[in-house]
């Protein structure tokens, strides 16, 4: 029995040593490659953070100017107590996202609001316009038939009124006669926080049947139409500004965290690397010494 076991044990021991030797040599190389790549990633995330910090400062400054604009545009709908018509259920949702990722949950947050709404009953009357490729990517697989159009090339440059005007024109010519709707966007609160919020959209009919519209003087259909077209553009402009600012601030935080995590990984990998290197040296010394001792 002993005779049978002993060779097996011996064989195993040899295998372990061989294996360890191979692994040690290999890991040293592998660890240094890994270390290098993590360091490069850290450099990239760090510079992305710097870039988005600069973009964020600009976006915040512009947002400050756009806030009264957006609030002013919504005020009329609140004051006139415009409400969605009861009999017409057609709704339009506009998802304000951008083309760029790596910015935390900015895009998923907006898409989630719409997804939750679409999974509720009555969703067949809802159409969605995706602004930015990210919301399309999230929504198209499950709710592709609700999407009527997609706008992209958003997020590379700060939004301008011209972009909003084009988007407004696209909404008005989409061929979809919505009765009411919402613009879902990220409202910027501070560098570390934003929340999904919405702005109302109404059809001309809904505005004309508003209970308090009668107190407004000298209105005709033309004025209301022009007014609503412009206010749609201004609301879109405001939502774009809010979205851009939240996105940059969120990207800044995300990239900061990524750099921190990369730093932690680098520390751990350096430690393992040094330890392994020391182990290799020690083992080589042992081999030399025991070789010399065997000769004596």
């Amino acid at each position: 029995m002993l005779g049978r076991v002993a060779p097996g044990v011996c064989g195993q021991a040899v295998a372990v040593v061989n294996h360890q030797q191979n692994r040690n040599m290999a890991t040293l190389k592998a660890i240094s490659i890994r270390l290098k790549s993590v360091k490069n990633i850290q450099k990239i995330t760090q510079s992305m953070k710097m870039v988005s910090a600069a973009k964020y400062t600009r976006a915040e400054r512009e947002l400050k100017a756009a806030r009264p604009y957006g609030e002013g545009a919504v005020q009329f709908y609140e004051r006139a107590e415009v409400a969605a018509p009861e009999d017409d259920k057609k709704e339009l949702y506009i998802a304000m996202t951008s083309d760029r990722g790596l910015c935390g949950a900015v895009h998923t947050g907006v898409s989630k609001v719409i997804r939750n709404r679409l999974s509720e009953p009555g969703a067949e009357n809802i159409k969605v316009i995706c602004v930015g490729d990210k919301s399309r990517g999230i929504l198209q697989r499950l709710y592709g038939k609700h999407i009527i159009s997609v706008a992209n090339e958003i997020g590379r440059l700060p939004p301008t009124f011209q972009d909003a005007a084009k988007l407004a024109a696209a909404v008005l010519t989409s061929g979809y006669e919505f009765a009411s709707g919402k613009i879902i966007y990220n409202k910027f609160k501070s560098v570390v926080s934003y929340a999904q919020s919405d702005l109302p959209l109404y059809s001309q009919k809904a505005v004309e049947s508003a209970p308090k519209l009668a107190i407004y003087d000298s209105l005709d259909a033309d004025v209301i139409q022009s007014y609503m077209e412009f206010s749609l553009a201004s609301m879109l402009f405001y939502a774009m500004k809010e979205g851009a600012c939240s996105e940059q601030s969120s990207r800044m935080t995300a990239m900061d965290n990524a750099s921190k995590n990369a730093g932690e990984m680098i520390d751990k990998l350096t430690l393992t690397f040094n330890r392994t290197r020391q182990a290799v040296i020690t083992r080589e010394l042992i081999e030399i010494i025991s070789g010399a001792a065997a000769l004596d």
Binding site: Y69, S149, A169, T173, S226
Partner: protein, 206 residues
């Protein structure tokens, strides 16, 4: 379709272009699921009036107005443009605005109304009697039942920042564009540009 009304025309021209673009690439106009692609700042819809106004403005000046809370029969004005905020809920004495239904003045307790701005000069008389004149390209005016007034412009600049010779230059450029415009869409666009440029020149000389 091409009325010389500012915003409706602006949006309609864009609409017209969109149809042309869609039509030219073989996408049926009535197809609901049309994918709209655009590049930022392309020249597809050249909003001439913006360029005109920008050309007319050579310097920008930073202004700060103190905030004041509106009370009773006072009129809180929010005057903002895409490029800048001029007044944010500030109490003022009088506002004169140019609209498509004619220019009108707004005093506190004005009857609630909506109007569409035409290119021209908005005059704001502040509580201390100081007048500021601001040129606007287009936009909306809302007077609410609580006497708050929102003037939202697409682009606006103080009158003193407008350079007359630059405006004159823009006007002649717009006029030559109008005469060389080949189709109805380009004509409508150029007509708007001329209208805005004329108003800028008038405002800058007056």
């Amino acid at each position: 379709m091409f009325q010389r009304r500012y915003l409706a025309t602006m949006l309609r021209t864009v609409i017209c272009q969109k149809k042309l673009v869609l039509g030219s690439c073989g996408v049926p106009k009535d197809r609901i699921c049309n994918y709209i692609f655009w590049t930022k700042r392309n020249t597809l819809s050249k909003m001439a009036f913006r360029g005109v106004l920008r050309m007319g403005v050579r310097k920008l000046q930073v202004r700060n107005f103190a905030d004041a809370a509106p009370k009773g029969d006072e009129m809180a004005l929010t005057f903002a443009a895409g490029n800048k905020v001029f007044y944010d809920k500030q109490v003022v004495r009088q506002i004169d605005v140019p609209s498509f239904s004619g220019a009108f003045g707004i005093l506190p307790k004005h009857v609630p109304t909506l109007a569409v701005l035409r290119p021209g000069v908005v005059t704001v008389v502040e509580n201390d009697g100081k007048q500021s004149k601001i040129f606007v390209s287009s936009g909306t005016v809302t007077v609410n039942d609580d006497s708050s007034v929102q003037v939202l412009a697409e682009e606006a600049h103080p009158l003193e920042n407008i350079d007359r010779s630059a405006a004159q230059e823009a006007l002649s450029k717009a006029q030559s564009e109008l005469s060389s415009a080949s189709n109805e869409k380009a004509k409508a666009e150029a007509a708007i540009a001329v209208e805005v440029a004329e108003e800028i020149v008038k405002a800058a000389s007056g």
